[in-house]
């Protein structure tokens, strides 16, 4: 495993109490693999990524337990200086909103070049040349000229390419992309996802793709981890999960998406609301919304059951859920 998150716990101290954002998340990514982390707002998918990157806002955020093994080393035990060396060089991140992630008062050339100056000790001139090559690599037209432009002079899609170029600069082993195309239009989203897939193959990088879009997941992922209320509730190879989900939440999500090739009818809707992280329901956090819920779901937290090779589900009644689909 390139990256392995084990039983991670993160909480946020707020004025109103403690929000349990991440409650024992475990997932792993191999080199060259794409893992999609799927979840709705508040599921803890981004907080987990921030913990892995070491960019969690703390305070108020605090890691209260677990391990993050990257290339065999527990990142949580490293000194800040060692983590900084890894960040960018070995482990890079792409954010949803490129406009606020890029520095507005520096040219994109300076920002890309900074990576090479800081991590590789290059001269400004060499760094500039590398920046142009990178912009070429992510298919930005007229890179030699545009390297002197500022972020606001680029369109949304082009800015996201610059983010990708920046993440790619030092050829990291793993990239975490947090909703990289959510802010983009579909035709531009297709361009950016294509580029990401192409680069991932070329550099044999691991990719953690954080998203709420079931379509994007089906298009690019090898494996999926579905998160709910700060836990992974189901993990499986992508083909299996779409064919027969083993957790009622996953099933509900799949059924509630309108389809491009179908019209009308009532959509299946998961009843109720996502949980309040200050007061996560007892037992299985999904039980107030679950059609399969029984007494045991209100009292006992379901462990991750092994469903098949490489498949796990945190549902007491995963067999029933799988069976329903057939």
């Amino acid at each position: 495993m390139l990256l392995e998150v084990r039983d991670l716990h993160v909480e946020f101290r707020t004025r109103d109490g403690i929000a349990q954002a991440v409650n024992g998340v475990s997932y792993g990514v191999d080199a060259g693999e794409t893992l999609a982390v799927l979840g709705e707002s508040g599921s803890g998918k981004s907080v987990t990524a921030q913990a892995v990157m070491g960019i969690l806002d703390s305070p108020p955020g605090r890691i209260t337990g677990g391990q993050i093994l990257f290339q065999g080393r527990d990142l949580l035990r490293l000194k800040e200086e060692e983590r900084r060396r890894i960040r960018g060089a070995e482990l890079a991140m792409i954010f949803q909103d490129a406009l606020s992630a890029l520095n507005p008062v520096l040219t994109v050339g300076d920002q890309l070049g900074e990576m090479f100056i800081v991590h590789r000790g290059m001269s400004r001139k060499d760094a500039r040349a590398h920046a142009v090559a990178l912009m070429d690599r992510v298919h930005i037209p007229g890179a030699a000229h545009r390297v002197r432009d500022y972020p606001h002079q680029f369109s949304g899609g082009m800015r996201q390419r610059i983010m990708i170029a920046m993440a790619l600069a030092l050829e990291p082993a793993l990239i975490i992309a947090d909703e990289p195309t959510t802010a983009l239009d579909v035709t531009v989203q297709a361009q950016v996802m294509d580029l990401l897939a192409e680069l991932r193959r070329e550099y044999r990088m691991g990719l953690v793709l954080i998203t709420h879009d079931l379509g994007v997941v089906a298009d690019v992922a090898d494996r999926i981890a579905v998160m709910y209320a700060g836990r992974v509730v189901e993990s499986a190879p992508v083909h299996d999960i779409y064919k027969a989900p083993a957790h009622p939440y996953t099933r509900g999500l799949l059924d509630s998406v309108p389809r491009l090739d179908q019209k009308g009818g009532r959509l299946y809707a998961i009843k109720g609301l996502p949980p309040n992280l200050m007061a996560i329901p007892s037992g299985c956090a999904f039980h107030p919304r679950c059609p399969l819920a029984r007494d045991v779901c209100r009292t006992d937290v379901p462990p991750l059951h092994t469903v098949a090779k490489n498949r796990a589900s945190a549902c007491h009644f995963w067999k029933e859920c799988l069976h329903d689909r057939d």
């Binding site: 709705e40 361009q191 079931l214 089906a218 083909h239 309108p258 809707a269 998961i270």
Partner: protein, 345 residues
């Protein structure tokens, strides 16, 4: 399908925002052509979906329909009467019947007002719609209709989740018993599991109250789900329109074809054998719209003719003779039935 008389007819609708230079002496140096000649009709009880990417002018169309903006040119006929030139008083009466639901349930509700006051506010503006003593009861009814507990009438917006807030916005839109609801991206800020609840609610309300919807969204799957007819916008114009089957199963405009092929399908089995059209480049700025066909700068079919000649929105000659679902309005010189050649999913 329609079959009924049109309740709203839009013709030649244009909205240009002037670009000026200078502070004391303002000089117009150009214009952002946000909406640049749009025609459509909405039938009673029908849902017209308008899809397009950011900057295509779909939200400006929405704001024009509810008279939040004045059009630069063109007509909006409600029950046969052009409402763009009405006196303020006459317009106010019309507005009762055309209400809007906004995209962002977080900023479109006043945080200092209770839910009861928000939903009841339309009655302050149109006191003739409900007698004062009856308003509280009506607001409770509305809360019930949109699936919220009527006991919540004294709560504030921040005490609700995104999906619940969108229900409040819908209740406010319904307060005056309008005939037409213009919904601008009503579910795009919501999570998938909540999105389905709100879509079902909108569909149920349409049936119950016989509403006509103009449903504006960028999500093509949602638009198909809810719409009877669909109009595809690009850079201020409708480039293709027709019934949902005509547009989704038999798109003839290259932009629609590219748009549909770019939508990620939630089915991993499909990814190996679906053909995708990846468009080059970005949408041009609406301040500098290309000559001729406005899509030509990104179109793989573009030829000399597309630079010179603006394609009109009509049933293309080549497809009319064959008839069938491919024979619908498409603004392309080289429109063809894509399904004849390739499988689009």
């Amino acid at each position: 399908m329609t079959g009924t008389e049109p309740i709203l007819e839009v013709s030649g609708l244009v909205k240009h925002y002037p670009l000026t230079r200078g502070i004391l002496v303002k000089k117009q140096i150009g214009a952002v052509r946000a909406v640049d000649g749009v025609d459509f009709t909405l039938g009673r009880g029908e849902t017209l979906g308008i899809v397009g990417e950011s900057g295509c002018g779909k939200s400006t169309v929405a704001r024009l329909l509810v008279s939040l903006e004045k059009p630069t040119a063109g007509a909006i006929r409600y029950r046969g009467e052009d409402i763009t030139g009405l006196s303020p008083r006459a317009l106010k009466a019309v507005r009762r019947n055309i209400q809007m639901v906004f995209q962002d349930p977080y900023t479109s509700l006043n945080p200092r007002m209770t839910v009861g006051d928000i939903i009841g506010e339309p009655y302050e503006i149109h006191p003739e719609a409900a007698p004062r003593g009856d308003r509280r009861r009506r607001v409770r009814d509305l809360l019930d209709v949109v699936g919220l507990n009527p006991e919540y009438i004294n709560r504030y917006p921040h005490q609700f989740s995104g999906g619940q807030r969108q229900r409040i916005g819908i209740a406010r839109g319904l307060a005056l018993r309008p005939e037409i609801i213009v919904a601008d991206e009503p579910v795009s800020a919501l999570d998938v599991s909540v999105q389905a609840q709100v879509i079902n609610l909108l569909a149920g309300l349409q049936e119950e109250f016989g509403l006509s919807y103009v449903f504006i969204a960028h999500d093509l799957s949602i638009v198909r789900h809810i719409s009877d007819r669909v109009a595809v916008m690009y850079l201020g114009r409708i480039v293709e329109q027709g019934s949902h089957t005509e547009i989704y199963d038999h798109p003839t405009h290259p932009y629609t074809q590219a748009l549909l092929s770019a939508v990620p399908v939630p089915d991993p089995e499909a990814r190996e054998h679906r053909e995708r059209i990846i468009l080059g480049g970005d949408v041009p700025s609406p301040a500098h719209i290309p000559s001729g066909c406005r899509f030509r700068t990104r179109c793989w079919k573009a030829q000399e003719r597309c630079v010179r000649e603006v394609p009109l929105l009509a049933v293309p000659e080549t497809l009319r003779t064959a008839g069938g679902p491919a024979a619908h309005d498409s603004a392309c010189h080289f429109a063809e039935n894509s399904l004849a050649g390739r499988e689009l999913r």
